[in-house]
Symmetry: C2
């Protein structure tokens, strides 16, 4: 097993490749952090506001979460990085003793905030919470992340819309490179690993260039950004594979905002080590659970009398303690415990699938494992996914324009709320589609029309829906839903 | 310690009085059930829909819940008593191994359902969920509760509005007595204790008569119903004390839908053994926590930087794992974990205060304990409480009239939703009032205007707000709240 010693500067963050699959680029690794090692491949649950929605730290540990994400943008606005620093940092704040990764806030600034003014120095924007003017620069993004104190922090990158003209993508990518250098220089703590972020859209030439430039800056780890923003899954997987092949083998690779179980199978094959996505928790809160057969909708009547667990192959708390009928009832009755139980199952599923891939790689049988898994896993229909995404983006454009046209903070808050409501509807449609597909019937019987009631989670105030964390809680519980 | 042997018929439900306070009527007891003993005085958390909102069974056990309530009305409509029976009964359904008490559904039929038609045989009504016509009789209420399989089941009683003319109260009380006899005859299971319910409003003569008649029917336990429906707390406490003095000493006494910490202190002094109320969980979900000083509002800015626990004297999971600042943050961010952490604290507070009273009784010092407790506990202002309650009842009357005027099931569902929204607003005002009072400032600073965001719980579709369980989940999460 080739263990590659990290350079002196990132010694606390040694990454060792324990095995490489002979058929694909998949690798099993071990990434050390001050709060313990992370065995890869690894799916990282998202705790946007210093909490993985509905779950307590003990539950996350019990389901096998090795590391969680938190969002710099959200936490810097509320409660504020100084507050968290004053309380002893993010680990103590959220009572989580394992590793944490914070993003840089870049993705949210460009998707969730409004009235953005971009210049070479940084970006000025208004908070989506109270409309207050904020400024983020590479230096400030690093400074905030140093205050938060995560184990892994991310460079501040410019995130652009998709699709975008190649010239625009290049311009943004080059700025991201300059900002990556500034982040590197701004870093003062040695107990945090700063990851660089490769950009370049779906353009292979730009992706190659970005990987080369960032590799030259010698980061202790690299992320592949600018994915999961509307491109096809095939584009995402191709870019991930291409970029992985160009990054230093001795550094961990993180595909941001991805993914679903099938994304993991494909991304790992391409050489990716780390993943994050709100999908498992968001699906869970909407009554969809992950299984090896695909997504299953809990609210269908067939579960009403099911005395067995949701997933007989699962060892999670939910599946070992409750009947499917009970969880079904909790969703029909819109009980808070439902969101927790489904989230636990889905995150356990992601942890288990990560561990299963790791074992397959270590045993040099990842290729056959992946083929077998993908043959059995019914994915959401790509065409339907794109249609729904376009609806969502159209709603986004309209609402963003409206939001940007609002001058008063209170008006902005209201408009942000409307945007969130619009997104909830669009997300709901997307989730419906995905869920219905997996259940094999598209009409009636609880598949469509959000028969499972509220969407306490599906709100998404912008492109934030998938990548880099879930939006703040406005609308999380109340949503925009009228009581039926 | 006088231990009074129960009669043969209720042997599985032996109740022994372990100590009686020399100064008051307070008593410490032990009530055996097929799922274990209940040490009294005991506060029973409410799990309306077979789940104590936001909590898992292990959490309830850990915080010292000895028994939980569930609601016959709600469960018979969804998922249906047959479904639960088919899944092995309520204990297995909700994965709860300790005792359960189910109410008879009477209170909800008369408060939550609509288009009620009362006759001597029973009551016909429409479900608040789907508008379907339902019928409940004493026999059916017992039958459903036998299907659910709780340890303690309740007689089906007629619950009337407050205030009501004495003649109307008498008529209703007498019907309740006839129904109590029918319930007794309808019972077939011997492993469930059927409690009779004393009615009679705030009229001492009627209460005396009701206690005498029911005592003559020799139930294994007695409840004091028709309280917490709008009368003053003084009326409630007086009735509880009067009725307790007339009930057989060798039977447990249960004050339905009551109460707050001060209610427990007063009710126990009056001779009550068992209490239930949604208040602790509902307050918790609204960001108000219970302490020996009264209710405290978590969303006030003073908690933002508080590194210590919510309540330094508390041993609950929340207080031993998280700073007040973190819980404050979760409420401000409207995160689901907030509702859980505050509910855990408040229910632990109720379990602790029950245990403290029990110890004081056993040690013959309950009188001084109660005086000391009440001197330190700042209760919600009674006048303000009544004003808010009147507002709520007025809204209720309007909405109920509207609901009853709707003929189609779908229209009824919509109207029910609007009613829930109206109640949410009224409840919010009431909670605000209570919380503000305890915090000692009535204006600004986070006290008023629901600064703590949504009211995922405070919805109350009728008089159900306090007694006998929380309404079904509609509006529970989504409420009627527009995204701000």
């Amino acid at each position: 097993m080739p263990t590659i010693a990290p350079p002196e500067s990132s010694a606390p963050f040694a990454f060792s490749v324990e095995a490489v699959d002979p058929e694909t680029g998949a690798r099993a690794g071990r990434f050390n952090t001050p709060h313990g090692p992370i065995l890869t491949p690894c799916f990282m649950p998202v705790g946007t506001q210093a909490t993985v929605k509905s779950l307590a730290p003990e539950e996350l540990e019990a389901l096998g979460a090795q590391i969680v994400l938190a969002n710099t943008y959200h936490l810097s606005l509320r409660p504020g990085a100084e507050v968290i620093a004053g309380l002893g940092g993010l680990h103590r704040f959220m009572s989580w003793r394992r590793p944490i990764l914070t993003d840089s806030g870049g993705f949210q600034v460009f998707s969730l905030a409004h009235l953005r003014r971009l210049d070479e120095e940084g970006v000025t924007f208004r908070s989506h919470i109270d409309g207050s003017e904020q400024r983020l620069t590479p230096e400030r993004a690093v400074g905030i992340q140093e205050q938060l104190g995560a184990d892994v922090i991310m460079a501040f990158d410019e995130c652009i819309e998709y699709p975008a003209a190649p010239g625009r993508v290049r311009e943004s990518m080059e700025r991201t490179h300059r900002w990556a250098e500034r982040c590197r220089r701004a870093q003062t703590r040695t107990d945090q690993a700063l990851f660089g972020i490769v950009q370049g859209g779906v353009h292979d030439d730009l992706r190659r260039e970005s990987a080369r430039v960032l590799a030259g800056l010698d980061f202790p780890g690299y992320a592949i950004g600018g994915v999961s923003v509307g491109e096809t899954k095939e584009d995402c997987w191709r870019v991930a594979t291409l970029v992985s092949s160009l990054l230093p083998a001795a550094r961990p690779r993180y595909l941001m905002g991805v993914g679903s179980p099938e994304d993991l199978a494909q991304g790992v094959a391409g050489g990716v080590d780390l993943f994050d996505c709100v999908l498992p928790t968001r699906l869970g809160r909407n009554g969809a659970i992950l299984t090896d057969a695909g997504r299953v909708t809990l609210t269908r009547r067939r579960w009403r009398d099911e005395a067995g667990p949701l997933d007989p192959t699962c060892d999670c708390y939910t599946c070992t303690h409750f009947s499917a009928a009970y969880v079904h009832h909790l969703f029909k009755a819109e009980e808070l415990l439902a969101y927790r139980l489904a989230s636990i199952h889905n995150l356990r599923y992601m942890a288990r699938i990560s561990a299963r891939m790791r074992l397959a790689i270590l045993e040099r049988r990842f290729g056959p494992w992946r083929r077998s898994f993908l043959a059995g896993y019914r994915v959401a229909d790509e065409a339907a996914r794109q249609v729904q995404r376009e609806k969502r983006l159209a709603a986004w454009t309209v609402q963003r324009a409206r939001l940007d046209g609002v001058s008063s903070p209170s008006g902005a808050t209201q408009a942000a709320g409307e945007m969130a409501a619009a997104f909830e509807a669009a997300d709901a449609a997307e989730l419906d589609e995905a869920v219905v597909e997996a259940n094999g019937d598209a009409v009636g019987g609880g598949g469509r029309g959000r028969p499972w009631g509220p969407l306490p989670a599906a709100q998404g105030s912008g492109g934030d829906r998938v990548q880099g964390g879930e939006p703040e809680g406005q609308g999380e519980v109340a949503g925009g839903r009228a009581v039926p």
